[in-house]
């Protein structure tokens, strides 16, 4: 979100999902929409049925790409070059909305200098996308008024993640596709409330509503509401925390509903860091790979057992309602934390979720009018500054959140790891339709578990032929950090030179081999590019290949958990 914030002043989908069906051009960059956001893909498909043009930029031939009028298969990690190439055409052919650029943006001249150098031919050399395709896409996107741009993890999970996002923002501003319905720059957020967690300030440098902790006025407001002195220096991101733990500086961690052992790059590094901690608390609904390493585990409740709100990717704050009483002896997270604060000498005194939202609304300008009693019938979209405000379906109408939109001149930089003789394949990781994140939830859902029971590596038929691999064969994926054994799936969904492994599987935790390189600003790991080698392996009869993470001791702990539940008083 840092990329969007630096261009527009706020990071969220600028427009609404319900506008998609009426768009004329839909440009999807680095999002496997049909599998990861199926209900958004449904709207895109409807737009296509109504005659819209769909452009997809993704190295893999995903289902949404099959519907695309133009599918750009750029090499992994070359998105900036692709976007610069497109913008070069737009500037060169005079398709820029000069009026908008003059009135609403700044720093165009600097930006133009950089883009001028990246002609479609230069971009073709870097990305592998034909220059004629780049020209065509540029013309289609720029000339149509109702053009929506979407991106997802395919853009952000790179060392150049922030650059990628800024490039998208540049493109949107260049053509003035913002501040109108059926336009905008629309990040599709992966998890149900990742937008809300950001909005509510679960970030090291901002309070709720993206108010900077370094800003004395914002800090004073929170200090007076909470009656405590608050620290002014921004804190550590998750990845910094693990580095700091490894150095022995961070001593204790409290992890709520997260499974960094599975989800973070370079698993062994994370495990080592966690082992170094003096004290680890994990609060979750199921035993996770991270919880197994904890000193204290607290049972939390699922979405069906608590009241509250989730904010979806289009900034819609919606009510989650309690359907059943907390199962077993679990408690809602907010209750656990407020009980704990009470024990630590700070009584938060909340009795229900809506009381918390009341306080959040008071302290958060963009959530000012978000109150539980207003959220029946499909919620409200922030910014919603006061209790009479009807919510905002599309943002930046008259001006950007930060005033003028900023063009960021961005040069192409190659990914952190490049292929060589020893590691000739680019590995890109991602998700599957039937799976979700580290799979603690869908593993307990019969239908989902059955559909994709095994991890696999997608590989192009040509590459597979070269190393003598057929679908169903076992193959060892080796990177500079580790190795895992998976089954091969030979398919032309993945282009030559690139292989794909989903990250959901504990049995073959792909993050044992992914690169720990992160974006210097947003600290997003580069999951989408890592150099690996593939070596076919033949397991001995009756033996299944093992990897390093299946440790017996962890399973022993798991077995001890299956006991009679205790009913709390």
């Amino acid at each position: 979100m840092a990329g969007l914030a630096s261009a527009f002043g706020s990071g969220a989908m600028t427009n609404s999902i319900s506008e998609i069906a009426d768009a004329r051009v839909i440009f999807v960059v680095g999002s496997n929409t049909t599998e990861q956001h199926p209900m958004i893909a449904m709207h895109m498909l409807e737009a296509v049925d109504r005659g819209a043009t769909l452009i997809v930029a993704d190295p893999r031939k995903t289902q949404i790409a099959a519907f695309a009028h133009t599918h750009l298969r750029q090499r992994s990690g070359t998105d900036v070059a692709l976007l610069n190439g497109i913008m070069n055409v737009i500037i060169g052919e005079g398709l820029v909305d000069i009026n908008f650029v003059r009135r609403r943006t700044e720093n165009f001249d600097e930006f133009e200098k950089v883009v001028k150098r990246c002609t479609p031919e230069v971009a073709e050399k870097i990305t592998g996308v034909p220059a004629s395709d780049i020209q065509r896409v540029a013309r289609i996107y720029a000339t149509e008024k109702r053009s929506m741009l979407f991106y997802s993890m395919g853009i952000t999970q790179h060392v150049t993640g922030v650059d990628n996002v800024r490039s998208c923002a540049n493109l949107v501003m260049l053509t003035a596709h913002i501040g109108q319905p059926m336009t905008g720059l629309n990040p599709l957020r992966g998890q149900n409330n990742v937008q809300g967690a950001c909005d509510m300030g679960a970030l090291p440098d901002v309070y709720s509503g993206y108010q900077k902790v370094a800003d004395a006025r914002a800090r004073k407001k929170f200090e007076s509401a909470w009656r405590r002195k608050l620290p002014s220096a921004p804190g550590m991101t998750m990845i910094d925390m693990f580095d700091s733990a490894l150095e022995g500086k961070l001593k204790a961690m409290y992890i709520v509903g997260e499974n960094p052992v599975m989800s973070d790059p370079d698993t062994s590094h994370v495990i080592e860091a966690i082992r170094k901690l003096d004290f680890l608390v994990v609060q979750d609904i199921f035993m996770s790979e991270t919880a197994e390493l904890a000193d204290v585990i607290l049972p939390a409740v699922t979405f069906a057992e608590k009241d509250g709100t989730f904010t979806n990717t289009e900034r819609r704050v919606q009510k989650v309602r309690r359907a059943v009483r907390p199962m077993y002896g679990a408690m809602p997270d907010w209750k656990i934390i407020s009980e704990l604060s009470k024990k630590m000498g700070y009584d938060m005194g909340y009795r229900a979720a809506h009381e918390i939202m009341e306080e959040a609304a008071l302290l958060t300008p963009v959530y000012g009018g978000i109150l539980h009693h207003r959220l029946d019938a499909f919620g409200l979209q922030w910014p919603c500054p006061d209790a009479d405000h009807p919510g905002t379906p599309f943002m930046h109408r008259k001006k950007f959140a930060k005033g003028l939109g900023t063009f960021n001149p961005i040069e192409f930089t190659p990914p952190d790891e490049t292929t060589d003789m020893a590691y000739p394949f680019i590995l890109t990781t991602g998700r599957l339709y039937f799976r979700y994140h580290t799979a603690t939830m869908c593993r307990r859902t019969a239908t989902l578990e059955r559909e994709e029971p095994e991890c696999f590596v997608e590989i192009n038929p040509k590459d597979a032929g070269r190393i003598g691999l057929r679908s169903g064969n076992f193959v060892k994926a080796v990177s500079r950090r580790g190795e895992i054994v998976v089954k091969a799936l030979v398919t032309d969904r993945t282009p030559e030179g690139i292989v794909f492994i989903p990250f959901h599987f504990r049995e073959a935790a792909v993050n044992l081999i992914t690169s720990p390189a992160v974006d210097p600003v947003a600290k997003i790991p580069e999951f989408k590019v890592c150099a690996i080698n593939l070596v076919p392996v033949i397991p001995k009869p009756g033996e299944r290949p093992k990897n390093r993470y299946n440790r017996k001791e962890d399973l022993k702990i798991l077995n001890e958990l299956y006991e009679e539940p205790e009913v709390p008083s």
Binding site: P38, M42, Y433, T447, E451, Y562, E563
Partner: protein, 341 residues
């Protein structure tokens, strides 16, 4: 018809209140979000009797998405089930027809205890449909908008009163002892019923004859490439199966607890649209391609059902039209096939 009755709308709530003493009354209510949902009725006046025709599916009351079958422990096995008596008010003719089809499947040659137990305890008061939705096409299948048989009680809305038709022993049970609120119909009532039925028939937007489609498929005029085109738009959500009032597939799952020695055995809805549905030992996936699965769903409804029971496995409720994110629902596909040479 002999045995028909007339009920003033003013007396409907009284009647339902009396029925509720004996059974859990379920009816169409407006949710906090404005959707119509079938829930237990607290306040009879909350019932939305004249709402839109595209109501949620009633299948869950006879065949829930997740149903516990047995509890097991070292002490033995205990069968769990649902003996609750229920009156379900306000379902439409298409769903009554669907219950009839479910009965032939679950109550036919092999009787399904869990289904039959719920079925025995459930009575339906259906409403002859006079507000068909744009997605409805029961009229081409004879499964609606009003029925001649197969219902427990069928109501026809005659503005200030209902025509009440009784079609089963359960239906007779529901009017027994309420002579003081029902009266015999007069000619004017029958005239109004005729009017209502006529006007309902004229409101259908979709006219689909599945017979034509079936003949075309049987004549070999539909190539596999057609189904591949259909399948390319499949999101594999399973919505068509889950929402279909005629689909019956389930999977049996054991949840073990306490180190594996006790737990529950339950069944959950499953769907032939999923790749793993026909997965066999030795890692064999007979229908690995989506096209094979979509084709099978349509063939089951259009060819195999008529082959076995003489009726299509579709009642034209139009729910797949509403739920399918890829717009490859029965109505759309049938329409395309009908137009195809």
């Amino acid at each position: 018809m002999k045995g028909d009755l007339v009920l003033s709308k003013a007396h409907l709530s009284y009647w339902l209140r009396q029925l509720r003493k004996e059974a859990d009354l379920i009816g169409p209510l407006r949710s906090t979000d404005g959707d119509i949902v079938f829930s237990s009725v607290e306040n009879i006046h909350d019932i939305v009797a004249d709402g839109p025709a595209n109501l949620p599916c009633q299948k869950e009351f006879l065949f829930p998405q997740r149903e516990e079958m047995y509890k097991f422990s070292p002490k033995g096995t205990e069968r769990t089930g649902n003996h609750k008596k229920r009156v379900i008010f306000g379902i439409r003719s298409c769903d009554v027809s669907a219950v009839g089809l479910m009965d032939t499947f679950y109550g036919g040659q092999y009787e399904d205890d869990f289904y039959m137990e719920r079925r025995k305890n459930t009575s339906f008061i259906s409403i002859a449909c006079n507000t068909p939705d744009s997605s409805c096409f029961c009229i081409g299948l004879g499964t609606g908008p009003f029925l001649k048989e197969g219902f427990d009680i069928q109501l026809t809305d005659l503005r200030d009163r209902y025509m009440v038709q009784v079609g089963s022993a359960k239906g007779r049970q529901m009017i027994k002892g309420f002579g003081h609120i029902f009266r015999r119909p007069k000619k004017a009532d029958y005239d109004d019923q005729y009017e209502a039925n006529l006007s309902s028939q004229s409101k259908f937007e979709k006219r689909i004859t599945l017979d034509n489609v079936r003949r075309k498929i049987l004549a070999g005029k539909v190539p596999d490439s057609f189904w591949e085109g259909v399948a390319s738009r499949c999101f594999q959500c399973g919505g068509c199966v889950y929402q279909c009032p005629v689909c019956t597939c389930f999977n049996v799952v054991d949840w073990k607890d306490g180190g594996g020695e006790k737990g529950v055995r339950m069944r959950i809805w499953d769907g032939c649209m999923f790749k793993g549905f026909t997965k066999m030992a030795g890692n064999v996936w007979p229908a690995e391609q989506i096209a094979a699965r979509t084709k099978r769903w349509y063939f089951h409804k259009l060819l195999y059902w008529p082959g076995q029971s003489g009726k299509f496995g579709c009642v034209g409720c139009g729910r797949c039209t509403i739920t399918c994110p890829g717009k490859i629902d029965m109505a759309t596909v049938a329409n395309r096939l009908e137009k195809k040479d």
